[in-house]
Structure formats: structure tokens, C-alpha cells
Symmetry: C2
Subunit: 241 residues, 2 copies
């Protein structure tokens, strides 16, 4: 039998629930947590949206495919991220395909009927969910902006910045958490453009060796990237998602 208790503790502090203990008490008994492996399909584009999903650990990619066979990665979700918001609405379908991209990814689900029940009863949790949706709009609009205003090196730099601890603006080391071809696709560039962008980041003190990244000055990288972003200096909205 799986022990859900530590997960429930984490989820009760998620921004969706932490100020809504009444709603959380209704939701908690219905939460299910599963550990999934790389390449596991979590949900299919077009399936009836019967659950809301929350990533506890690991990474999930959200993709869409066109009739002529092109795939776009519209989101990379990690700890704390929510996906499948279509479940908030009756008769809605998931607007993307979701697939696990790293081993031992832990994902919690909340059944759609339970989440809709608490929304119907508790105006305060509705406000939290609206805020979550509004954040998603802001993130997506910002990503769209970056496609227009940033160079590919800046877009890669922006992704790396979001992996940095923002409290330490000096030297940092980090790991790129997903495969390079996925990262390139997510950033809307070809694999060879990603390599070129890595080279260009050397000039601002960022060295990439395989998945290992050394940032000699977060402040310098931030200056290089954020000068081409309208949210410069205020990017809490810019979650990876």
C-alpha cells in the first residue's frame, strides 16, 4: 500500500490549497499519487478531462501535434506545477498530450468532479484558481513575447536563469534537467541552434558541458537576458510551465 501522507502534507501547502483548509479537507481523501517512469503517457490530447494533475517531483512535457506531423512542446512541468486545468470545466477535453520525461516522476491527481464540487461551494478557492489561470496566461504571453524580442541565446539564458537560485546572484552550478533535443524544441529552436546558443552564452560567463552548467555570475546573465524582456525585474510570473 502506498503511503500518501508526506505527499498530502506537501499538497496542503500548494498555493491552490494553503489558504483554503475547508476545501483541502474535501479534496485530500481523493488525491492519488503515482510514481511514473520516463516515456509514460499521462494523458492524451482530446481525452475527456477527468482529473487535475499536480507534479510533485520530476518533469512532464505537454505537447501538441499538427495534422502534418509537427510537434510543439507547449509546457515543461516540474515540482509545484499544475496541468490539465480543462478538468475545471464540465465536458472539456485535454488540449495537449502529457508524457513523463525523467525517471521516477511523482504526480498527484484530483478527480475533476471533486475539484468542481469545491469550486462550486467555495468562492475563495475559485479566486485561487482564477489566479492560477491568470498566471498561466501571463507565462504564455511572456513566452510568446520572448519569441519576438529575444535572441536564441537569450531564450536559453532565460531558461537557465529560472533554474538558478535567485537569492544568490554570484556563481552557481546547475544541471539541465531535460534532454537537449526536448529543451531545443521547448525553446522553439533546432538542436544545432541550441548548440550555437550555448557557445554564445560563454561571452556572459556561462559554460555548458553536457548537462552541466556553470554560471559565473547570475547578475551578468540576468542583465544579458532580462534587458529584452518586458517583465525585467519582476518575473515571478515566469515559471517553467
Amino acid at each position: 500500500m502506498e503511503n500518501n501522507l508526506p505527499h498530502l502534507q506537501v499538497l496542503s501547502q500548494h498555493k491552490l490549497f494553503k489558504n483554503h483548509s475547508d476545501s483541502w479537507r474535501v479534496v485530500a481523501p481523493h488525491v492519488r499519487v503515482r510514481i511514473r517512469q520516463k516515456d509514460d503517457v499521462v494523458l492524451h490530447h482530446g481525452d475527456l478531462a477527468n482529473s487535475l494533475w499536480l507534479v510533485l517531483n520530476g518533469w512532464v512535457k505537454l505537447t501538441r501535434q499538427t495534422p502534418d506531423g509537427k510537434e510543439t512542446i507547449i509546457g515543461l512541468c516540474t515540482a509545484g506545477d499544475v496541468f490539465g486545468e480543462a478538468a475545471l470545466f464540465p465536458h472539456a477535453n485535454y488540449p495537449y498530450h502529457a508524457e513523463v520525461i525523467v525517471a521516477d516522476t511523482e504526480i498527484a491527481t484530483i478527480p475533476a468532479d471533486i475539484i468542481r464540487e469545491v469550486i462550486g461551494k467555495d468562492a475563495k478557492i475559485s479566486a485561487s484558481i482564477m489566479s492560477l489561470l491568470n498566471e498561466r496566461v501571463a507565462q504564455t504571453q511572456l513566452k510568446l513575447e520572448h519569441m519576438n524580442t529575444m535572441s536564441t541565446a537569450q531564450r536559453l539564458g532565460c531558461f537557465l536563469l529560472r533554474l538558478c537560485n535567485q537569492n544568490d546572484i554570484n556563481k552557481q552550478s546547475l544541471q539541465i534537467p531535460v534532454e537537449k533535443h526536448l529543451l531545443a524544441a521547448y525553446l522553439g529552436m533546432k538542436a544545432e541552434t541550441l548548440s550555437r546558443s550555448q557557445q554564445q552564452l560563454k561571452t556572459v560567463g556561462v559554460s555548458v558541458q553536457g548537462t552541466q552548467v556553470d554560471v559565473s555570475s547570475v547578475a551578468n546573465l540576468r542583465e544579458f537576458v532580462c534587458n529584452s524582456c518586458s517583465e525585467a525585474g519582476n518575473c515571478e510570473v515566469e515559471d517553467i510551465g
Copy 2:
């Protein structure tokens, strides 16, 4: 004194209110309608969000500017479109600049405190607003997808398709409602790329002369465009906004 009555009639049927007559009765006395002229600034990026805005007629562009001076058009709003959703949240700021781009644009405003009051009291209108926000997420994700999957000619074709009456799949004539340089910026391309894209659309029977567009077969244009879109055949989500 301005006569708001015809506008109120239209607004009462807006998807936000049409099934929520109790909420509409609270909101209606507070709605203000103004006719604005080209280049009028409606709101500034960063202003405290004190109203929700609904376009009744005309066009409004939503833009953001980066510190290094690049501007992105993140939305073009026309009749039926809502902007300024930041007003749903206390202490939020508008995340863009809004400016009128055609003469005699009519815009209604609802004060933020009134809209938040009805949300707090009526779970059903919350559901409509969540659905509005979710639609906005879907539109923005689709636009992002199109930047990756579509040629510039397809992106222009997609914009024109959305101006067509979808009930008539044969020949149609229409007007491009906004200036060409704005359209190019909105579609994420340079002015010369827009001209080239217009030329390319001739091969699928679309002729553009100034702002006049003749589409010889909506069905053909749809085939050319939608084959590179994951929403092919189901693009109610793809409002211009």
C-alpha cells in the same frame, strides 16, 4: 448625456453575463461606455488594474515594451473581446499597454471592485470567468504553437480565415481592419515578410490589394492553413485576442 441603453443590451448578452442575470443586475448600473479615437491610450502597462474592459466596436492593440526598446503586440481586441483581466485580482497591475487603433472604437468598463464583488458572491459567474481565462490560455498557447509550426503565409492565412464568415466556405471578400505594420508586428514578422506572405497566398486563391482581400475559396485557404495547426477543425478557441 450618453445613452448607454443599447450598449447594456449588447453587454447583457456577452458570454460573461448572459446566464448570470443576478450578477448582471449588480454590474449594469456601473458600466460606462466611451467612444475613443485612434491613438487614444486606454491604459498603461503597470497601472493599478481598476477596471475590466470590453470592446463593443473597433479595435484595440495590447502591447508590451522591453527595456531595450522592442515592442510586442500581444493582442488585438475587437467586438466581444475582454481585456484587463488583472482587475479580477486585488492589487494587480495591467500587464500591458492598451491603445485604440481605429477611429470611433467603443469600449465599456466595469469597475474592478464591482466585478470582484459579484465573483465573491456568485460561484456561477466565477465559472464563466474561469472559462474566459482558460480560453485566453488556449488562444495564447495556440499562437505560440503557430510561431513554431506555421509558415508566415500560413499565419497570415490564419488571421484572414478568422475574419471570414465560417458558414460560407466559398468565395468571400473582406477588409484587413488594422494597419499593415501592426498586422505584421502582431503576426511576429517584418513588414517585408508580410508582403512576401501576401504573394504566397495567391497560390491558394487569396488576393490582397491594399486592405481589400478576396478569398476565392475559404475551404482551400482552410486546408492550406489548418493542416499545420493542432486545433484543425476545432478552432472556436482561436479568437483574435
